[in-house]
């Protein structure tokens, strides 16, 4: 287990939280903990309670969906410095896909229940988190739309 100060430094050094003041970093560090997943471990499952999100520090995570007769289909993979999970922000807070560690994964998780409470009372913190999640969601949406086009498919 790392100390609160170490966690503060970890978060401070991460690009996702760049620009946050010490007060807000302290608040986040209070909700954060280190996580480790071995290759093959599921980080969360579709439909489960989305009570946290992850900042990946090392390794590769596959976001998957189970398709009848096809097994698990990987929709995208996430890597070092990517954030994993935004369902904690959106009621009713259920995961929409599975997340599986493809390799050894080290991550920081932030407790969504704890964060939601803090965002409720500290709207400034709420704004800063939203301002960081919306571009991530936008980027994922853009990538998903391009993927949907199947650009490299043989011409019809």
């Amino acid at each position: 287990m790392v100390s609160l100060q170490d966690m503060d430094d970890l978060l401070n050094a991460h690009p996702f939280f760049a620009g946050l003041g010490p007060k807000h970093l302290d608040e986040l560090a209070g909700c954060a903990r280190n996580e480790r997943f071995d290759a093959g471990d599921y980080i969360f499952h579709e439909g489960g309670m989305a009570d946290r999100f992850y900042i990946l520090r090392h390794g590769q995570v596959a976001v998957e969906v189970k398709v009848p007769h096809k097994g698990s289909v990987v929709l995208e993979t996430l890597h070092e410095d990517d954030t994993l999970g935004w369902s904690w922000l959106v009621p009713p807070h259920h995961w929409t896909f599975d997340a599986r560690a493809v390799s050894l994964v080290r991550a920081i998780s932030l407790d969504g229940v704890c964060l939601r409470e803090k965002m409720e009372t500290d709207h400034e913190l709420g704004f800063h988190l939203m301002a960081r999640f919306v571009p991530v969601m936008g980027e994922r949406l853009r990538a998903a739309r391009l993927q949907m086009l199947d650009l490299y498919a043989p011409p019809a």
Binding site: T77, H79, D81, E139, R142, A143, L146, D150, Y152
Partner: protein, 301 residues
């Protein structure tokens, strides 16, 4: 002089205003006439993609620069523009990688070693390799777009000493659609080059990245403000990759892409490949991004 005034007059009548502008050199070469080349090697790369190595029946090999293309004539089928995919320092092996998508390319797919085809070229603007000197290099390929970039990768590795980091980002449809798989693996094994490959759809035992090639750009490995970028793939992919590179700080003047249009002549005579003020055949196919950014965003130009 007085003996044959008629002949003299006929001779003088050939001294037309236009004749003064048509030197003999202008009529000596016929740029529409192919040279016969023999297929020395035929190799299937993917289910619909294959590579042929060509050698001229007579005469010297055809020298080219990375990014240039040839018009390949298949007897009885027609002629298509195909980019050259070989090493520019080994012109004796004239290599083309082709995807069978139409009548001519399907006829080409049915050819075998020993068959003879017609070649005209090389045509078009090359990838400006020297623009990368002193900078990092990012090469972004999508699908079959790796084929026109392979000569560039050869050229980049040939002048490796003058360059900073070298990064190849390659997006394929599925793991089975990864072109030049052995060579990509070999490049990935080099210590002086970073290679990331992603697929749109994971199949089989693929455990690598899944997602658009644009996402690989975020993984870095190069100093965006000091980078020359070369992009080839479907037009939509190139637009989004260019935007992602610009967003990271790559200069539009050091960003290059390669366009594809219908071509019947490759020398600016047939008019088919026009794209705004440019003929893709002679002003392209390689364009500097800042010159074409506006057009790239406009539909049906």
């Amino acid at each position: 002089m007085d003996t044959a005034p008629g002949a003299d007059l006929a001779a003088r009548l050939t001294q037309t205003a236009a004749a003064a502008r048509v030197p003999a050199s202008m009529t000596a070469l016929d740029p529409m006439r192919p040279r016969p080349f023999r297929i020395e090697r035929w190799q299937r790369d993917l289910s619909d993609t294959f590579t042929i190595d060509l050698a001229p029946l007579e005469g010297s090999p055809l020298t080219f620069r990375p990014g240039q293309f040839n018009m390949l004539y298949i007897h009885g089928a027609g002629e298509v523009p195909i980019s050259i995919s070989g090493d520019p320092e080994r012109p004796e092996r004239l290599i083309h990688t082709t995807r069978a998508v139409g009548q001519v390319t399907n006829a080409m797919k049915a050819l075998r070693v020993g068959d003879v085809i017609g070649v005209r070229g090389p045509f078009g603007t090359p990838w400006p390799v020297e623009a990368a000197d002193g900078h990092d290099v990012v090469i972004v390929a999508g699908g079959i777009g790796l084929a026109p970039l392979r000569p560039l990768i050869h050229a980049v590795l040939a002048r490796r000493g003058r360059l900073g980091n070298v990064v190849l980002l390659y997006g394929a449809r599925t793991p089975e659609d990864i072109l030049y798989r052995k060579q990509v693996s070999a490049w990935r094994g080099r210590f002086d080059m970073t290679v990331h490959v992603t697929v749109d759809r994971a199949t089989g035992r693929w455990s690598g990245p899944v997602g658009m090639v644009t996402k690989l750009i975020a993984r870095g490995g190069f100093d965006a403000r000091d980078t020359a970028a070369y992009v080839c793939g479907p037009e939509i992919m190139m637009r989004h990759v260019a935007q992602a590179l610009l967003d990271r700080g790559v200069a539009a003047e050091r960003l290059f892409l390669s366009m594809e249009r219908n071509m019947k002549c490759a020398i600016g005579f047939c008019g088919h490949c026009q794209w705004g003020p440019d003929f893709v055949c002679k002003d392209g196919p390689v364009f500097r991004y800042d010159r074409v950014a506006t057009r790239l965003a406009q539909s049906e130009v």
